[in-house]
């Protein structure tokens, strides 16, 4: 039976009693009596609960601070780790630079968002990859402030981002070693198991066949914090190293481990996964830094949400999923993984182990788009992943057009694809093919947009794709784009 052990502001904590589905936020406020960390929503969308975790597991050679939403983490998710809260930043009475900058720039008015803002800025202090002003918005978009209008917050973060002060925290980071994540708490009808090997995972699943899987918890924890459900049996995947990381298989396909976080995926998209430009593009406006630190590729796909953002991009790229169980592994095209609304092809005992993506052909045109009410930290009204290959004569030889928000699952627009395939890739072909979309999807009306809007946007994204890729086949996004499609001035 594991005891919950972690370091809170460098003090060791041991707790044998706390129920494992207690959120870190409630633990901090109610059991540790640290009330600096606030609850603004309990759904990961405001950032008032932001704390920082020191992560040496992802890359032991380069430990990192990660700002996370304490409201969506169950306490075993920090097992063995170091957690810092707003109360832990002052050293010998002196403000941390992130705190001092917020005072100096008048970054707080009512102050309720401030602890979370400071913690996200704290992470920014120690990031070495912040070079562009737009990246600061990306870093901070998970922190809502209703008072300031953000200008002073932006200024404060600008002052400190990437400064890497020579302080205790930097030393802690340098000294960090991978945490012992293993956690097992089990009794009749209840368990929380966080195995740290594939073998132990299969054993746990065999022992508790009813248990639900959890990885980052950014989706699952909402059942507890929003629906007030009891999750009696949970098996956590994040400690299993075999399911994590990005690489290249013997056949040349890219392989993305299911428990790879979206931050790590994003970083890989600027490195080994660079050819997969649509992924990087869709990740630019995906949740917030805090969420991306926890959210995983596997969780995003296994949700089987019709508005999950990775699916359209990955389907367009021709991705496959690898499903594993104690008995072995099988591979499916991603689009066949989604059976119905929030229903996947996973069989009992199976986990999604990895996503495989082929290297796109050199001349292929591809992009991914996302339209939502707010650009940052919002769920798609419509998302699209588009991929077109043409032969030297200019005819479409391969086309994959996948959409989110248009049907009960992420889905390909088969009619549209058929109308494009074999035709010359011209504006006239695109215009002639677009009416087929109306046959592919009957989108619904909800608070994110009407059926009319979804239909119109889906069409326009294909138009935009044509125009955008006319100049560059794999267009990147500019720093602060006005829209998901990059068309400031037409080619």
């Amino acid at each position: 039976m594991s005891i919950l052990r972690f370091h809170l502001n460098d003090r060791p904590i041991e707790d044998a009693e706390v129920p494992p589905t207690t959120t870190l936020l409630n633990y901090l406020r109610q059991r540790a009596h640290l009330t600096g960390t606030k609850e603004g929503c309990a759904e990961g969308d405001c950032g008032a609960c932001t704390v920082v975790v020191l992560d040496a597991e992802t890359d032991p050679a380069a430990p990192r601070f990660r700002a996370v939403n304490a409201c969506l983490m169950f306490v075993p998710m920090v097992q063995g780790r170091r957690v810092y809260t707003i109360e832990g930043l002052r050293q010998n009475g002196a403000l941390h630079p992130a705190q001092a900058a917020m005072v100096e720039r008048l970054g707080s008015q009512c102050g309720y968002c401030t602890p979370g803002v400071v913690m996200a800025a704290f992470e920014a202090c120690y990031r070495e990859d912040l070079h562009e002003p737009w990246q600061l918005d990306d870093q901070m978009c998970g922190n809502l402030c209703r008072c300031t209008g953000y200008r002073p917050i932006r200024d404060a973060v600008h002052m400190v981002a990437g400064t890497c002060p020579e302080d205790l925290f930097k030393r802690r980071r340098a000294e960090a070693t991978p945490a012992a994540l293993e956690f097992v708490r089990a009794s009749a009808g209840r368990c929380y198991m966080q195995p740290t090997s594939l073998a132990a995972l299969w054993a746990a699943i065999a022992e508790r066949p009813q248990a639900r899987l959890v990885c980052g918890g950014t989706d699952l924890a909402l059942l507890v914090t929003q629906r007030y459900q009891d999750l009696p049996e949970l098996i956590a995947l994040e400690g299993v190293p075999e399911l994590r990381g990005v690489g290249r298989a013997a056949d040349g396909w890219f392989e993305i481990g299911a428990t790879t976080t979206l931050t790590d995926l994003e970083a890989a998209c600027m490195g080994p996964l660079r050819p997969l430009t649509p992924l990087l593009r869709i990740l630019r406006y995906f949740a917030s830094r805090q969420i991306k630190h926890r959210a995983t590729v596997g969780g995003n796909l296994c949700n089987a949400s019709p508005i999950g953002d990775l699916a359209p991009a990955l389907i367009a790229l021709g991705a496959q999923v690898v499903l594993r169980s104690a008995a072995g592994a099988r591979t499916l095209p991603l689009e066949q993984f989604f059976l119905a609304y929030r229903k996947t092809a996973l069989q009992p005992g199976e986990v999604l182990a990895a996503v495989r993506v082929p290297e796109p052909s050199p001349g292929a045109r591809m992009a991914a788009y996302k339209v939502s009410k707010r650009r940052e930290l919002d769920i798609s009204a419509v998302a699209a992943g588009l991929y077109v290959e043409t032969c030297p004569e200019g005819l479409v030889t391969e086309v994959r057009a996948a959409f989110g928000g248009m049907a009960a699952t992420p889905a390909r627009a088969r009619g549209l694809e058929a109308a494009l395939r074999g035709k010359p890739w011209t504006e006239a072909t695109v215009e002639a093919a677009l009416p087929a979309l109306a046959g592919d999807f009957k989108p619904m009306t909800d608070h994110r947009g009407s059926a009319w809007f979804r239909g119109q946007v889906a069409e326009n994204l294909v138009r935009g794709f044509y125009l955008e890729t006319a100049a560059t086949p794999r267009p990147d996004l500019p720093p602060r784009p006005a829209a998901t499609v990059r068309l400031e001035v037409v080619p």
């Binding site: 009330t35 969308d45 405001c46 707003i86 917020m102 209703r146 008072c147 209008g149």
Partner: protein, 806 residues
């Protein structure tokens, strides 16, 4: 050492709680150490928009472990009805429910989780009744909350007949959730002899006190309400904190234990009222140069299920139908309707933004018809003399009776001729908009950028830019005259340290910071010597809400009065110690100074004063002079003065997706002689972005049964950091001292919110670049609304091209 150089006024200042904010040590109600035996109170709301409550059984809920009690209306010992203007809101539902989320029961338990389990086990049965869910349905059913309010002047029909352009239509503006980061919270401690102390997150501690006293059936002196600070309020904790505080009080009285009522985000958004959605029908006549000749508006506010502050909000909406423009002939009719939704309430601007949105729509449409620059048409209509544009010919066409006078005793006809009389017959002296307009246009390079944008748009078929303009004139004072009063209590201890109490509450706006500065200035001490205390009803009684942007205007005067009295009390003593005459003593920087560089420390002065038995505490009081309004005739002087500002906003939109981005904003705002410029700039920036949120991404959606679908930040999108423009220039108008206000300053809380309407002006410009004809843009301007408008514009362009080809 001169007094001026030592005063904190007008100097850069940081928020007085900034250190607490950034270290997490600033405490909000939910952060206070929980007293032993404390229970949590969870309000349980109606699941239906309207229905008869046919059964309420608590047995199963009471059987849930950790649940202590379940309270219904019958458990209220005093009055069950509360409400700020009319007592029409049952604290706990009686036989009928009128909105989703209307509180039916209070579950008291050891933990929030126990309360939630208890709430689930509660057996409530409703018989659903037909509900009124829209303004149109309410108007049809004649469901009004108060008698209509009317303003009129001149001859509308005659002026319309002469107009070169008639603009008519309807406008909807949506609601807006306050989304203060800290949700509603109150902690109630029962004391001896049935007394009660509450720590409450409220803008209006007195109203909480009154509600608790009435609900418990006791005198007000039995209740003390204290406000540590709020994590934002924006009007949402003006009247609506009372209900949840009263529930905590009820629970504490019932169980004899401390009770905390705190709302989760979803409960808060479901149960509390929002900015009023408004609908209006308007008809305007303008001359060929775009000057308003007549305006007729029917303005209707959706008040939700109870009166709350709706009549006052409607009034302010009507008071701002003119914004900064002279309207010669007019007829405005205002109505507040009752619907089966959460009761809508105060929200920064208090109806003003909704009123202004109407005339801005009129001018935008007229400009599009006349091919005028959006700034220019506005300039032509400002109050005051504009000799180059406004010949006398307009004026004589306003038939007003000879010899008629305003309530302030001025001649109506001469004010009309001078174009400086509002629709409610208050004079607008020295309208600052023409000056602000000229300065802002120069600062933001208006003409050159308009040309650049036009050239850029010509090259960009799918993405367009627009430059919009928005001036604001906003009336300052509570329009209910009685509320314009404030008090302060200043205590000086014998070590010279000062406790400052005043009636205003701190919600982030920097009021305490300003009051500390006013106090320090007046006593000649340093701000470090002054501690601003939690606002409490046992320090300053009978306070008004901290609202209507009036916090520093009213409380500042009261603080000044109290401090001046204290200072004058010790002046003779200081003179004696300095060996000089009283008039030669200067108080500054923590000391009293005499001629020849002699000085005595404030701390020594305080100690000596105590030993000499000079009283070191004083109360101050202030009531705004010379304001009054008669709603029955729609005339008076409701405002002490007007605050002004203007914004130039540049946007870029996508004609494919309807997305937009604000690329640059320039604001020039009039805060009089700023008490603390850094604080004021923060209010302007924050207010502007909040206004932009209301007009763009913040969309409240209900289902067909009146249940709110957007009750959390996952579905309700307030601006995020990326919505803050990359270029955001805010300047304060210089040489702008205001008469008879605290140190010549002006209120700043609300006016900047309306500058956000500049984004609508800019979006319209960008949309218009897609095709000919008037823009039809719905509010809020979501990507969907923008895309609809673009589709219409593009279709018009196609038609025009086809016509041209024929």
């Amino acid at each position: 050492m001169t007094e001026v150089s030592q005063s904190p006024l007008g100097r850069p200042a940081v928020h007085e709680s900034a250190l607490g904010h950034v270290t997490g040590s600033a405490r909000y109600v939910d952060d206070l150490p929980e007293p032993a035996g404390m229970l949590h109170g969870l309000p349980v709301g109606s699941p239906v928009a309207r229905g008869r409550l046919v059964a309420r059984r608590a047995e199963r809920a009471l059987a849930v472990p950790g649940v202590h009690a379940v309270l219904f209306a019958a458990d209220v010992p005093g009055h069950n009805r509360i409400g700020p203007i009319v007592h029409d809101e049952p604290l706990l539902a009686e036989d009928e429910v009128f909105a989703e989320g209307q509180v039916v029961a209070l579950v008291l338990g050891d933990s929030v989780a126990a309360c939630r389990a208890g709430a689930k086990a509660l057996e409530l049965e409703f018989e659903e009744l037909p509900a009124i869910l829209t303004i149109a349905e309410a108007l049809e059913a004649g469901s009004l909350l108060a008698p209509p309010h009317e303003m009129r002047r001149g001859d509308v029909a005659g002026a319309m007949a002469r107009a070169a352009v008639i603009v008519e239509g309807e406008l909807h503006t949506g609601g807006q959730d306050h989304f203060y980061l800290e949700t509603q919270a109150t902690l109630a401690f029962p004391g001896e002899n049935d007394t009660l102390h509450l720590e409450s997150s409220t803008q209006h501690p007195t109203e909480v006190q009154v509600a608790c006293a009435e609900v418990l059936g006791c005198a007000r002196n039995q209740i003390v309400v204290s406000v540590p600070r709020m994590g934002g309020a924006f009007g949402g904790k003006e009247s609506q904190a009372s209900q949840f505080a009263a529930l905590a009080a009820l629970g504490a009285r019932h169980t004899g234990r401390p009770v905390k009522v705190w709302l989760s985000r979803d409960l808060d958004m479901t149960m509390t009222g929002k900015r009023h959605p408004f609908w209006s029908r308007y008809r305007a006549g303008l001359d060929a140069r775009g000057r308003l000749l007549a305006l007729e508006v029917e303005l209707v506010a959706d008040g939700g299920w109870s009166v709350d502050l709706s009549p006052a909000i409607l009034d302010r909406g009507m008071f701002h139908l003119d914004n900064g423009y002279f309207v010669p002939n007019l007829r405005f009719v205002g109505k507040a309707v009752r619907t089966n939704k959460a009761s809508n309430t105060a929200f920064r601007g208090f109806g003003g933004p909704q009123g202004m949105a109407v005339i801005e729509e009129v001018l935008s449409r007229a400009a599009e018809r006349l091919g005028l620059d959006p700034a220019e048409i506005r300039r032509r209509n400002y109050y005051g003399d504009c000799p180059d544009e406004h010949g006398p010919e307009n004026m004589v066409d306003v038939p007003v009776p000879d010899g008629e006078q305003t309530s302030a005793g001025a001649s109506v006809i001469s004010l009309v001729r001078a174009r400086c009389l509002t629709p409610y017959y208050q004079e607008v002296p020295h309208c600052r908009l023409p000056r602000i307009h000229a300065e802002l246009l120069a600062r933001c390079d208006w003409e050159a950028r308009r040309a650049e944008i036009a050239a850029w748009n010509a090259r960009s078929p799918w993405q367009k830019r627009g430059l919009g303009f928005m001036p604001v004139k906003f009336g300052i004072s509570f329009t209910n005259t009685m509320l314009n009063q404030a008090g302060a209590l200043v205590l000086v201890y014998a070590d010279g340290s000062v406790q400052l109490n005043h009636g205003g509450t701190e919600m982030g706006q920097g009021l305490h910071t300003k009051m500390v500065a006013v106090c320090a200035h007046e006593l000649g001490v340093t701000t470090a010597q002054v501690r601003c205390m939690a606002t409490a009803t046992d320090k300053v009684p009978n306070t008004s809400a901290t609202a209507a942007s009036s916090g520093s205007d009213l409380n500042g005067m009261a603080v000044q009065a109290a401090c001046a009295e204290l200072r004058e009390r010790v002046r003779p003593l200081a003179a004696e110690l300095l060996g000089t005459g009283p008039e030669a003593v200067q108080f500054a920087g923590g000391a009293a100074h005499g001629p020849g560089g002699r000085s005595v420390q404030w701390s020594d002065l305080a100690k000596t004063a105590w030993m000499r038995r000079i009283s070191l505490s004083a109360a101050g009081y202030y009531a705004t002079p010379n304001i009054a309004y008669d709603r029955t005739v729609g005339r008076g002087k409701p405002f002490h003065y007007f605050a002004y500002g203007a914004a130039a906003v540049e946007v870029e939109i996508s004609g494919l997706t309807g997305e937009h981005r604000i690329s640059r904003v320039d604001i020039l705002h009039d805060v009089g002689s700023s008490l603390l410029p850094t604080i004021d700039v923060g209010q302007i920036e924050g207010g502007f972005i909040q206004g932009v949120g209301w007009l763009t991404g913040e969309e409240l959606v209900w289902d067909a049964k009146g249940r709110l679908l957007t009750h959390g930040p996952s579905t309700y999108k307030i601006p995020a950091i990326g919505d803050c423009p990359a270029i955001f220039n805010v300047a304060l108008l210089e040489r702008a001292e205001q008469d008879s206000t605290i140190h010549g300053s002006k209120a700043v809380g609300e006016p900047p919110l309306m500058l956000g309407l500049g984004v609508v002006s800019a979006l319209r410009q960008a949309i218009a670049a897609f095709g000919p004809g008037e823009v039809e843009l719905g509010i809020p301007c979501t990507p969907e609304a923008i895309l609809r408008a673009v589709v219409k514009q593009r279709a018009a362009a196609v038609t025009r091209a086809a016509d041209a080809a024929e």
